[in-house]
Symmetry: C2
Subunit: 684 residues, 2 copies
């Protein structure tokens, strides 16, 4: 699954950490829409999209704030995405006796479509260059003063760019690790509803063992619909649904929002990943996985209630294990070092550039000693997350826009508030499980005698504290959250909710750490990143793509298999293949509706297929578009080699895995019948 | 805790993998008794033990086959060791309502002493050099032919060396990765009983967070007794019990059986550890830890029944995480590379040595592709372990001694059989948990479509298979195990026990893999290891110590603290300090008997202390001996820096952690009163 699930406690400190690498190989690249390498593509393929083609596609491309990509595929706001991108929505709408995640959901009428908590659909309407204004604001500042000035300017630009916060959203994005700053304006739709989703097993056939593998037999597709004022929105500029099989070798374009890559990292940043961040992440997440797996065996309720977290966790873990493997492969990392050496050589003697790599080394060195406290003073729990948002929002809202933390500026607050206040179920046993785990890992990595451990735990054990906070908190109730939101700082400070008290206790130290990280790491990196970007443009020209930033990108490629240890991997699977691969036992058991309709399903229909497109987590749900601009699939995964793609793309091995529109059509007609959608997709 | 817990599925393939490094720094070294560097010690300290001193100590030093060290401390077979070395014995003797692991155990009379299943005490009686005979047997053979010839010769030497298998045991040990082969003869005592142990919390105060840390407040001590023919054995050559506080700066000697170190590994062997073995071990063990932690929260029974496995698992995990950290520290690994480079330089042009490092590189390269199947075709479960032993024993016993696998030769069979047949409790839920985990990890790392995965699982899921095998097996019953042992191959092949069928299914593939590993890795390494050892002796003379091999060693050092990030760590703690550190909450809750006797306990008594001795897992329980040859403590741990000690010793940071005899005496008199033992220890 290639959904984008940033680690909340690290995303902040890593923002702006992406630097620069040499020019793209054929088919490598997650290109911005304002810098598509049309000439290069035309040279290779004899054809390239023109501006009209790109503009049309951009208008139909949807970003889902839950961490996925999607596209409009009808004139009435119908959105194609992956099943795993709506799994949380199905989960949040489920309850004992109505398990939509397990059973799937087909809305027979529009008024039966299910609201998705926290979800918002966004369409890019313009991209503007604000590099000059941001760089002017930073001037010759350094450290935290620089990050403050930069963030203040960003808050100002975002606010003035999108005065209508009901329908628009502005975001300034840092590209090339500080080489460029761009203002993205979005048309936003904050009421997103679920129209159709298959059974979980249809999408997750093969489960974690088959995730990031191919051949694959997965119906990882679903349909949402954007609403406004209680009615479906009109989307005349949608993509055309084309339920046909792909042709081997044909060109494909993946249009979506890759979340984050680290291809421009310097060797010291990669060393930090390999030596510190990845081992800690993989180790601690593995323990959480074990706790959760066992807890889910305890009862049918636990099994249902833990599934969404488990799926996300196992997906993340597989990603991180794949990255760790890539960075522990000396042959692979040698190619990264060689790229950096080449750029250094080409930049030697350029006084305007100097030696930004040494600045990065120094910043990373300083960050190493801040990493553990910065990571572990942010406990993992939904209730704690609510408390933290409430505490920070109350404290930040009283400040001028330009002085607030990034998530709490005027441009960011609407989505922050929506995520806080949307109603969704919360299972106390599950929240206690994650909180207990994260507190015990904090004590393990910081040490029992560390002041931050003592700040977190006081005299309590992780088990006791987690139990007391979760059992005592009223924050699962959206009305109580609303009350505290409306009451502002006075209400927060007067609250005796133990989770609010806990978040209040941690906030000063979290702010102190953020300041220290900005001073020693974020600030220096913003300057050095800009310099390395300059070096790169000077050395390789301006046909470059930046690291992924969960903003709209386009990747070009073709329908093509690959060689796996001497064996050719076929380019596609068929729906009938599912029945051959099934063992009858989870996760290789056929979904009930598949089994029930086996005779009716056309076994020859193309199911999943692979392309050479360059994607990463966040691209989940991206439309896969042919030269004619019609949709022939939804990207839902990469193959196992694509996990190293975080650091570098290898066209001989990296593949995008796509669910075919032909398979979705077959499912709409035969397995999970939705005649109204079939008609709508046909434009009738 | 520094008990030696080899990973069964990797110990076999790593045997003989230890190569060579430069001469020891002051206080570095786990020296064999036949090559103690007396001159070097005398130069540094002005005093060194003479042969009489060493001989006396050797006669009193005990190896516990459970993975620990110990010593005779009375004339009637009384043995001092750690609490964590008898935890399994306490656990195996416990049942609902009699939780000796939690509550401790004091045998008021000798006939109340508790038999320890699977445990055997061994004392070295002679060490002989058999290098010539083994090397002659290997001749110019290579690959698996070499390992077969070597193992046949070892089996022959061991059998002829110890005809009395009731009272003696012979073991040929490979030192310097193949530079030397030594025959160790032991007097063995296969009836070992527990006389005294404190409460678990007294030994594990601070739990996993404090494990491998200091300051420390742990009563990690216990007493066993060796029996023969139902009576305590006479041990006139015991060490003298000396319940006094240590003096800062005084010399200390640790005598015990360090299990395994990798200080002589080549850089390619270290790379294999860093890139493959450690990440997989830490990741998979972390998941098991999570499963077990959650399962133990499910009921009081689970909490009790899971504790022994959890303690061992968390200890191993901390060790592996510490090693991973050491090998991910470029400054540390640079020192290892520099050592290898120096040896290569000193050996350049020596035709008799050639380039054994390249042979190791090649062997490690070949091993990389065998590692996953070799590791994951050995499921983890006590019942499976019984089945595997029964299947292999039946198959091997019908062969001539020289053709059998190492654990099944005439010299090895008695302990193998004892471990198989000794009665001990087995908890099906726990065995199912570990089996399910190990099968699911096999599928994860090998892939769902791998032939070895299919061999393991067939059409079943890991969950189903684990349940079917554990629920259907009768191997928990020692009488059934005895029946199958006595019935030999015919009984095994006729058995319908599902676990026996499973072990029979796996055995041919396991044998095939062992053969492949011997051919590509074990054989080449035995030759290259010998060459590198030759290079080392030529470069540095013969005052060298070999990597640890769970055989008797002596380490010299002194009572001394260290500097931790600018702060001096004190050399010792007092018993009163426990009460200051206690939070009242696990694992920082005071043991009930400590709380009850708080007023009577002398708070000034030295509790735990640190020394510069160089130790590693397996040294747990080692007597800490002063110049006079009296026991002043039992080593039970290293500090956190000592975890990197697997690869190299740093005298400024690495420390041994010892429980003082003064504290044990206080406990025997005041907290867990044992007046008979007090008398016996005083020699009255």
């Amino acid at each position: 699954m290639t959904q984008y699930r940033p680690i909340s406690f690290t995303a902040a400190v890593l923002a702006g950490a992406a630097l620069l690498a040499p020019p793209a190989l054929a088919e490598e690249g997650m290109w911005t829409f304002d810098a598509f390498p049309a000439q290069q593509v035309k040279q290779t393929y004899g054809w390239a999209p023109d501006q009209a083609w790109l503009g049309k596609v951009q208008t139909a491309a949807v970003r889902l704030t839950g961490g996925c990509s999607a596209s409009f595929v009808s004139a009435e706001g119908l959105i194609l995405t992956n099943h795993h991108c709506v799994a949380s929505c199905l989960f949040d709408n489920s309850k004992a006796g109505a398990d939509y995640l397990n059973d799937g959901y087909v809305a027979d009428r529009r008024d039966m479509e299910l609201k998705c908590p926290g979800q918002q659909a966004e369409v890019v309407t313009s991209i503007g260059d604000v590099t000059g204004a941001i760089k002017a604001a930073m001037g010759s500042l350094a450290g935290e003063a620089l990050t403050k000035a930069r963030d203040a300017k960003i808050a100002e630009i975002e606010k003035s760019g999108c005065p209508d916060t009901d329908k628009t959203r502005c975001q300034v994005v840092t590209l090339f690790g500080g080489g460029q700053y761009k203002l993205y304006k979005y048309r936003k739709y904050s009421d997103v509803r679920l129209a159709w989703a298959p059974e979980d097993r249809a999408a997750t056939f093969g489960g974690d063992p088959d995730n990031f593998n191919f051949p694959r037999y997965s119906l990882d597709a679903s349909f949402l619909r954007a609403y406004e004022n209680g009615r479906p929105v009109g989307t005349p500029a949608h993509l055309q649904w084309n339920p046909r099989a792909p042709r081997e070798g044909e060109m494909t374009f993946v249009v979506g929002n890759p979340g984050s890559t680290s291809r421009l990292y310097t060797t010291s940043q990669l060393a930090f990943e390999r030596e510190l961040r990845l081992p800690i992440t993989v180790t601690t997440y593995s323990e959480l996985r074990g706790r959760l797996l066992r807890a889910m065996e305890e009862s049918k309720d636990h099994e249902r209630e833990g599934l969404d977290l488990l799926n996300g966790l196992e997906n993340s873990l597989k990603v991180y294990i794949g990255r760790q493997k890539a960075l522990n492969d000396p042959a692979f990392t040698a190619t990264l070092v060689a790229k950096e050496d080449e750029l250094k050589e080409k930049s030697a003697g350029n006084a305007a550039i100097g030696d930004p790599w040494s600045s990065v080394d120094k910043a990373v060195g300083a960050y190493r000693s801040l990493y553990l406290p910065a990571r572990f003073t942010n406990p993992m729990s939904d209730l704690y997350g609510y408390a933290e948002t409430l505490v920070y929002a109350a404290q930040e809202r009283s400040k001028p826009n330009g002085e607030r933390l990034p998530g709490y500026t005027d441009s960011a607050l609407p989505l922050t508030k929506k995520r806080l206040l949307d109603e969704k179920p919360l299972y106390p046993w599950l929240d206690e499980l994650t909180l207990e785990w994260s507190l015990s890992k904090a004590r393990e990595y910081l040490g029992a005698d560390d002041p931050d451990t003592k700040l977190l735990l006081g005299q309590e054990s992780p088990e006791q504290l987690a139990k007391r906070l979760v059992e005592g908190s009223k924050l699962a109730d959206p009305a109580y959250r609303q009350l505290l939101w409306d009451g502002g700082l006075a209400a927060i400070e007067a609250s005796d909710d133990p989770m609010i008290r806990f978040a209040l206790r941690l906030a000063p130290r979290q702010r102190e750490l953020k300041k220290a990280v900005d001073e020693a790491y974020g600030g220096p990196l913003a300057v050095a990143g800009g310099k390395i970007a300059d070096a790169r443009f000077a050395a390789y020209g301006d046909t470059l793509y930046p690291d992924a930033t969960f903003t709209l990108r386009i990747s070009y490629g073709q329908v093509k298999g690959w060689m796996e240890r001497g064996n050719a991997v076929p380019v596609a699977t068929t729906m009938g293949g599912t029945f051959d691969r099934a063992t009858g036992n989870p996760p290789f058991d056929v979904a009930p509706a598949f089994a029930a309709n086996k005779a009716a399903i056309d076994p020859a229909v193309t199911y999943d297929f692979v392309t050479t497109n360059d994607i990463i987590g966040g691209n989940s749900g991206s439309p896969v578009i042919d030269k004619a601009g019609t949709v022939i699939g939804a990207a839902f995964d990469g193959n196992i080699h694509s996990l190293g793609g975080n650091y570098g793309y290898d066209g001989t091995l990296n593949r995008t895995v796509v669910v075919s529109t032909a398979a979705v059509q077959e499912a709409l007609e035969t397995i999970y019948p939705a005649p109204a959608l079939v008609k709508e997709l046909a434009g009738k």
